[in-house]
Amino acid sequence: MTVLISLRLSAKLENLGGFIGPLSDCAKAQGFERGEISKIELAAEEALVNIFRYAYPEAPGDVEMICKEEAGRLTIEIIDSGIPFDVTAMPEPKIADGVHDREPGGLGVFFIKKVMDEVRYRRENDQNILTLVIQKDSR
C-alpha cells in the first residue's frame, strides 16, 4: 500500500481546506471520477468537522490524516487524541422526519456511512482512528 498523504494539523475549522485540498488533488491524481471525489471530500469533511467541534472540549489538539492507495482502493485514516467517539456506533437519523423534528447532529455521520464503501473505527493508544475506504468505479 502506497502512502500518498500524511498530514497533521491542529483541530480547527480554519484547517478544513488544508485537509480537503490535498485529499481532493490526490484522489484526482489517482484517477477517481468527479462524483467519487465529491464523496471523498464529503466523508472527510464530516469526519474532520466532528473532530474540530467535539473532540477537544478542553485543550486544543491535532488531527492527523493519512491517505493510502492500493489496487484502486483509497483508504483515508483520520486520527485524533480527543474524547472517545465511535462514528460507526451512531444511530441513523430519521431522514423522513419533517423539518422541525430534525436534530442537527447525526446527518454528517450518516453521509460518511452512505458515501464510503467501508467505515471502520478503533480506539488505540488513547486515539480515535477512523478508517474510510472507497473503491474506484465502485458504483
Binding site: L42, I95, A96, G108, F111
Partner: protein, 110 residues
C-alpha cells in the same frame, strides 16, 4: 463561496457559487438570517453554480427554514445538480423542501 443576492417579484433570490462547506456555512447562515430579520419571508436559493454542499450547509438552510416557518415564509430551491443534488437526495432534504427545475418556475409559485 460567493453569494449573489437579488430581489425578484416577492422573493429574495440568493445564488451560490463554489463550495458550501463547514467553513463557508456560517457566512451563508448570517446572510440568510440578515435578510430574514429585514422582514423578507420568501427565498429562492439558486444552486446552479454550487459545486459542493455538506451537512453544515444543509443545517444553515434548515435553520433559516425554522425561522421562516414561524411567519409562514418559504424557501424554494432550484439548480440542484451533480454532487449537490446527490446530498439533497440521500439526506431526504428533497422531500422537505420544494425543488424547482428553473428559477422562473419557482418564482411563479412564490
Amino acid at each position: 463561496m460567493k453569494i449573489d443576492v437579488g430581489e425578484e417579484r416577492n422573493a429574495i433570490v440568493m445564488s451560490l457559487k463554489g463550495r458550501l462547506d463547514a467553513a463557508a456555512s456560517s457566512e451563508f447562515e448570517t446572510a440568510l438570517s440578515d435578510w430574514i430579520s429585514k422582514g423578507h419571508n420568501n427565498f429562492l436559493l439558486n444552486f446552479t453554480d454550487l459545486e459542493y454542499i455538506s451537512s453544515a450547509g444543509l443545517r444553515s438552510i434548515l435553520a433559516a427554514s425554522k425561522k421562516l416557518k414561524e411567519r409562514s415564509g418559504k424557501i424554494f430551491l432550484t439548480g440542484l445538480h451533480g454532487p449537490v443534488e446527490e446530498v439533497f437526495k440521500i439526506s431526504g432534504f428533497v422531500s422537505i423542501f420544494r425543488v424547482f427545475a428553473t428559477a422562473e418556475a419557482a418564482l411563479k409559485e412564490i
